[in-house]
């Protein structure tokens, strides 16, 4: 597979290579099939370094990826991974609280972090001349993060505010959370990334220390450097600032596996929602599965935009039983959900909407999509991917995710290649694997103070 991918990459590069266009192409390159070419180096302490230098880039992005997300939390201490992301900005031996961001901003750069269900990523995009500062700041907090009771209390309160704010502002988010709680019985995907309220109230400094010791170890981290920099210089900075971070034993407790689902699962929840929401999810294989791009296109064909199947069937034309239908593929590592959320028009028959929605989606397994639908979805997916690769940050995001979630940075480019070759038959086969009653979960979110209409069983 890898060899094939390489050959295709090469063939494509040759086909797209332009003739010299009146000297206007200095610094230009053949249209790329991946986000960037990269080299993987392992430091003495086990930390991996993915270098993707590009002298035509306008900036450089340095990111520290830690294979430590909510999936590594244990029952009773959910939310630690995200809380920890906040703690990482609270200062270390040589850097005062919040100083990290200020120092990067003073160079004209930006710094931030994100926690996904699978991992945490700390990143900064900055001018080339300031790259060593980023290495130094990251090394300092990996080696000597300040874990004090005051810092924990400050961030606990920030995170609980954040959770309240999110909950208030996103009824769909809360309904989706119910879906995960139903679809997963043992795997940590059943918990919200931000944590359960009772756990956030209870988390101790010892929980945080344990999480740091067990997961924030050099051999559990990947550093991506992407954009305008010199690889030799960057390696020197890495040896100076990152290699001294002592190797630690990584907590190797396996993530609890989810037992196979054999029948449809259902739940009804009463919550603060303006109208009835129907949330559906189908279990799909993890992000690295070769059918990933096909499933992404199926989700687009079903849910994305005014001319998607569900919009035409239930929102704008056809039955007009819903105010909106949205959906997608959640992109998680161990298993994915192909999900949909429908907001019902007042007066619509709940049971019928559910039947229509399930029927429209599962029909994708029964008959091939049209060439036109495939073509439209493919272009949208392709252009979205390429747009995200325009910046050093976007390319770093693609390379780091591919390395940590799919196991190889080249997977980002290979995904795009696979996407370009997909046929209606490929989509139908992928739909057949996933869009089955046995893998389906159904959640009804009903307004707390209203009598439900129709038959939410």
């Amino acid at each position: 597979m890898r060899h094939l991918g390489f050959l295709l990459l090469f063939a494509c590069a040759a086909a797209a290579a332009p003739g010299p266009a009146s000297g206007a192409d200095t610094g230009a390159r053949p249209a790329a099939s991946g986000p960037a070419e990269a080299r993987l180096v392992t430091l003495k302490n086990g930390m991996r370094l993915l270098l993707a230098p590009d002298s035509t880039a306008a900036a450089v992005d340095l990111a520290v990826w830690v294979d430590a997300g909510p999936v590594h939390e244990r029952a009773g201490a959910t939310g630690v991974a995200h809380l920890f992301e906040h703690m990482m900005f609270r200062g270390s031996a040589h850097v005062a609280a919040q100083e990290h961001s200020r120092l990067i901003q003073a160079e004209g750069g930006t710094a931030n972090a994100t926690t996904t269900p699978d991992l945490a990523c700390y990143y900064q995009t900055l001018p080339r001349a300031a790259l060593e500062l980023a290495f130094r700041l990251e090394g300092d907090r990996l080696a000597s993060l300040e874990l004090s009771p005051e810092n924990l209390e400050a961030e606990r309160s920030v995170v609980r505010d954040e959770k309240r704010w999110r909950a208030e502002n996103s009824p769909v988010g809360r309904a989706l959370q119910q879906l995960y709680a139903v679809a997963y019985t043992r795997h940590p995907y059943r918990w919200p990334v931000i944590g359960l309220d009772e756990d956030l109230a209870r988390v101790t400094l010892e929980d945080c220390r344990q999480f740091f010791r067990g997961h924030y170890a050099p051999d559990n981290a990947l550093v991506t450097v992407v954009g305008d920099f010199d690889a030799g210089e960057a390696l020197g900075y890495a040896k100076r600032w990152l290699e001294p971070v002592p190797r630690r034993r990584v907590d190797a407790t396996p993530v609890p596996a989810e037992p196979p689902q054999t029948a449809e699962r259902r739940a009804t929840a009463r919550m603060e929602v303006p109208v009835r929401l129907l949330v559906l999810g189908w279990k799909a294989p993890g992000h690295a599965d070769p059918d990933g791009p096909a499933l992404q296109l199926l989700a687009r064909i079903a849910f994305n935009g005014p001319s998607s199947r569900l919009n035409r069937a239930l929102v704008s034309g056809g039955k007009q039983s819903c105010l909106l239908v949205q959906g997608g593929l959640d992109g998680r590592k161990d298993a994915q959900l192909l999900y949909a959320v429908a907001a019902l028009r007042p007066g619509a028959d709940s049971a019928r909407v559910e039947r229509d929605l399930v029927g429209e989606v599962e029909k994708l397994a029964g008959e091939p999509v049209s060439d036109e639908e495939l073509d439209r979805a493919r272009r949208q997916e392709e252009i979205g991917t390429l747009f995200s690769w325009q910046t050093a940050r976007g390319r770093a995001e693609a390379l780091g995710t591919a390395q940590l979630v799919d196991g190889d940075w080249r997977a980002a480019g290979e995904r795009l290649e696979r996407l370009r070759r997909l046929t209606p038959a490929d989509l139908q086969r992928a739909a057949g694997r996933v869009l089955q009653a046995a893998g389906r979960s159904v959640v009804w979110a009903l307004p707390a103070n209203a009598v439900a209409q129709g038959g939410a069983r």
Binding site: P30, A58, A97, Q105, T125, R379, Q380
Partner: protein, 465 residues
Amino acid sequence: MTSARKARPMFRRLLLAACAAAFAAPAGAATFRLPAHTKTTFENGLTVIVMPARRLPLVEFRLVARAGAVNDPAGREGLAGLTAELLTQGAGRRDARQIAEDIAFVGGALDATASIEQAVVTCEVLGKDFATGLGMFHDVIVQPTFPEAEFKRKQSETLGAIAAQKDDPGTVANNELGPFLMGESPLAHPVIGYARTVGALTRDDAVAFHKRFLVPDRCILAVVGDVDAKAVLAALGKAFSDWKPSGEKPADAYAPLPRDGGRRVLIVSKPEVTQSQIRLACGGVPRNHPDYFAITVANTILGGGFTSRLVNEIRVNQGLTYGISSRWGMYRNAGTFTISTFTRNEKLRKAVDATLGVVKQLVDQGPTEQELAKARRYLTGQYPLGLQAPDALAAQLATVEFYGLPPDFIETYTSRVEGVTMADVKRVLKERFCTDDLKLLVVSNPKTAQESLAGLGPIEVKEME
């Protein structure tokens, strides 16, 4: 507070010192390398810039027209904005729905908006959809159909947006500042217009505005991305050969803004607010002014950066606001200097006095060498970060052309910022930044504001329409 935390500031200083020494950028080293590009003027007067950038198979089209709010006829404020929005609502043989569907089919984006001096049309597609993208881009620029129903819909949306803006005190302040500061200048009114003028517009107004101002001799077209320069010039020449020039000499110059006359105060009445919006402003300089770099550096020190004087003093030290900034609006023939902030009503006078104090002190005494170095560093670091994507490059190339900036503006940005001396900064602070002539506008409770602002200058109270 633990002793470890108390010790922090010292560590911070040590680290800063170490960083400054270890990581100081070699002067002039980090020049921005701009990919090669060509500039051509077509027979119909259209200026065309093409920059092949083949990293990714994407193409960005950008048209910048001298067709902004500054070109709104008196009494028809809002026309430029409405006309621009209608370009994508029917063009050539496509209606609004067909345009949306066809651009969605190729996964692209097609947009048109107006700002103070420009109408901007952008189109982004995959390289393989170049012809489709160009066709639609051409149609919305040259052959918009302005369907009556779409006109009515956009007009009513705009009126709704104008009404909604009245609930946001910050937007009220920004919209009222123009007429207060600039009087009859065509720069003064908000791009969105006023309810009474937008309500009176007709489809014929939009047709006439398009005919008069969206003409090739008032436009710059930039194409950046996966293209061959020669081929793209040929394709553009063919596509836009039906676009006729106006033949008129652009006669839309307007006068620079006066920056004297002492302090005046306008209170825009919003009795229900607990936070007062504050704007301090005066006339500035046009975009192609020779002091551009010195002003930019000086403004970064005053209120442009994250650790500016205004932020440090008004927000961090005195806790009078959550946000404060200063900025220069620079246009073809004139410009403005504006400080924006907000505070609780009872702190209004204190915030105004403290802000004026910070400006006056910087103008009188100048910055420290350290502040100057920090500002240069911030600006030279930030500039290339904003130019990573082809759409940003296309916008910057068009800006250079639109304002008649030096052709090497982008490549020499870094060295010009680094060339700004302490003497330059002190001079522009005295010559270009206002202190006693700053006009004050607040959106506040008129009763408490009148009391607290007494003595600052003649006060006028304005009721909202």
